[in-house]
Amino acid sequence: MLRLMCIATIVLAATVPAPVAAQERTVFPGPGGEPAREDLLRARELFRRGTEDAAAGRWADALAAFEEAYRLSGVAAALFNAATTLRSLGRYRDARDAFDQLLREHPDLDGEMAQTAPALRDEVARRVAILELREVPIEPALELRLDGAPRQDTGERPLELEADPGEHTLRLELPSYEPFLWEGRLRDGERREVTVVLRALPPPSTGPNVGKILLWTVVGVLVAGAAVTLGLLLRPERLQPESELVIDL
């Protein structure tokens, strides 16, 4: 992929129209018109820096550089490199959206990019996992958060949420009900069914007993601290590689 990035460097001279907004999809903004010459020069420098960062494995820095290069220039090569960098970061949803935007807004791609982009798009799309939520009531007041970020309720049932592979936390809230929590690990391309069970909150009590709450909080913190300390003491030693040639998966 770095080779493609190097090839793509040559392309950084043309300009393209601004992207179109999309719902529920990540959109990578372009210049919104004909870019100024100084913006193109700045974009070229950012592109070069992004390619260096990618070669050194500094993916987050590379991504920021490519996104900014695209914002300034609208050049397809910058968006292509942003997409491949997102893929390297394991952000397959965003990578898919970037490839989709690339193919939609730059239909005149040529060379290796034109051959590679559709295949890479399909590959990352296959790796997006789906959380299929069942028994979710249709309520305007429903609030969904995946990994702390709000997600829109599309109104469709079962409700499907896309996610990248990895550990996730889902929180679903509805007034008068206990929050529903789900935590789990999604694998590449996995579709996981989760049945949402909402339990009604008990009627409000006469008033909180502040002293009691404080006492249990202190006790809880002490027990948690002891558990973590014990866990650290019992933690097994990590194996050390025998070779200097090490690949961390």
Partner: protein
């Protein structure tokens, strides 16, 4: 209170488990550099779980390709897995490139050999496997070599070549 206590107790195994890893020590036998080669040839080694050989692999390159020598050479590559990867197969590809990071002119089409190792990782265990590449291929060999689960060495001393229990077929590291 009971909820707090339960949460803490549940957290304990998580804290103890998060420090573990597993390592496969891959003994890699590389061929001699072809006499007719016009320049140095580097064996560029990559490894992934949950991967496909059908697409190029991107990501950080942990070390430069190993330069082929006039005679066959042996190398040890340590492949480190983390929790969540222990049940996966391992995919290894060795590309024979003209540049150390396999990004030089013509390296797009560098011939490669491929290897799939079935279930090589077991939590907190060190396992071993050997792979011999006898010669530099003239073009990519698309069918991967396969090291089956019971040929992954580990957790048993001696001269056996089968590292699975005869009783139930489970690996000695399980």
């Amino acid at each position: 209170m009971s909820r707090n206590l339960l949460a803490c107790l549940l957290a304990l195994p998580a804290v103890t488990a998060c420090g573990t890893n597993a390592i496969l020590e891959l003994e890699l036998a590389l061929p001699a550099a072809p006499a007719e080669a016009s320049g140095p040839i580097y064996a560029f080694v990559q490894a992934r779980t949950n991967a496909s050989f059908d697409v190029p692999w991107s990501g950080a390159v942990p070390f430069d390709g190993i330069p082929l020598e006039p005679a066959p050479s042996q190398h040890l590559v340590s492949i480190v897995a983390e929790p969540g990867q222990y049940d996966d197969d391992l995919f290894v590809r060795v590309s024979f490139c003209a540049s150390p990071r396999c990004d030089g002119f013509g390296d797009d089409f560098a011939p490669e050999r491929r290897l799939r190792i079935e279930h090589p990782f077991y939590e907190t265990e060190r396992t071993r496997a050997s792979w011999v590449i006898a010669e530099v291929p003239s073009e990519t060999v698309e069918t991967p070599d396969v090291i089956d689960r019971c040929s992954v060495e580990g957790c048993r001393e001696g001269t056996t070549r089968n590292f699975c229990r005869l009783s139930d077929g489970s690996h000695f590291c399980e």
